[in-house]
Symmetry: C2
Subunit: 168 residues, 2 copies
């Protein structure tokens, strides 16, 4: 059986991912969130998982240029047939190791309050939701964070010594 | 009369810009290209022009993390009534000075072949179009650069000593 290989992203991954990502989300239009610039200019902190020559997962992120000790995960995606396999964890661990090497101490990301699967995945990965003073359905919500009607949950995780190891 | 002030971008600019930018482009949907992450994590190289408390122009860009001596301009926008006023030049010059301080030697950006105004603005700003081996209507085109049917012109400019000065 083929193994799953995780490597740094490259520009040609952009088209390969755009071709599949809307399907991975059940038809929702996600491709607009993945302009080519991420695959050109943020390769050191972006990773792709391949299985049998096919992209089956990816994480796109970067080191904040406003807060150089913080890193930000913009997008993570896993092929539906590869979910619950630990692949998202492996992609995140690659990201954590890459940004820890660049002296980042905090990793941040943002998700939707309705995306309970994403919120619980991030909790399992050691992220906490930032306090917003507005808890709905057990989740602290930042109303309109990403524009009108676009509420978000803000997640963050401290990186500690040894984070590069698969210690969980 | 009010003066136009150019300052670094901040997170709250995102909503203010999303509220107006589609109108600046005659109704085309541009706001999707401006997620909040740019206004949070790329403040050192992103600038906003204000006139009478209103956003009238902005440039969003960053230092490449794959190629640390290169910078990339993701988006520039100017209020229609402030076009041909030299404001886009001032915004670009702020960007050039900010990235030159971070030791960038090249600035890159990407535009559409149909956007003749953008191409000639960039030529006036000292950008050259990269050779693609496929010149159409006098412009070298990278076919499908940003996905199927999304042809692009790739522009680049070398930064030289003194680029931070308004020398043009």
């Amino acid at each position: 059986m083929n193994e799953t290989l995780v490597r740094h992203a490259k520009p040609s991954d952009c088209q390969a991912i755009i071709d599949v990502v809307d399907n991975w989300w059940g038809g929702r239009r996600m491709a607009d969130m993945l302009p080519k610039l991420f695959f050109v200019h943020f390769q050191p902190t972006s990773f792709v998982a391949e299985h049998g020559g096919m992209v089956v997962g990816f994480v796109v992120g970067f080191v904040s240029q406003t807060f150089p000790d913080e890193a930000y995960i913009h997008f993570v995606g896993v092929h539906p047939e590869f979910r619950n396999s630990g692949l998202a964890r492996v992609l995140y661990e690659n990201f954590f190791a890459a940004v820890a090497k660049q002296r980042c101490r905090t990793v941040r990301c943002v998700t939707s309050p309705v995306n309970k699967g994403s919120i619980s995945f991030h909790h399992r990965m050691g992220f906490s939701a930032e306090d917003s003073g507005n808890v709905i359905d057990g989740v602290p919500i930042f109303e309109g964070y990403d524009g009108k009607g676009e509420d978000r949950v803000l997640l963050s995780k401290s990186l500690s010594v040894g984070i590069g190891k698969a210690d969980a």
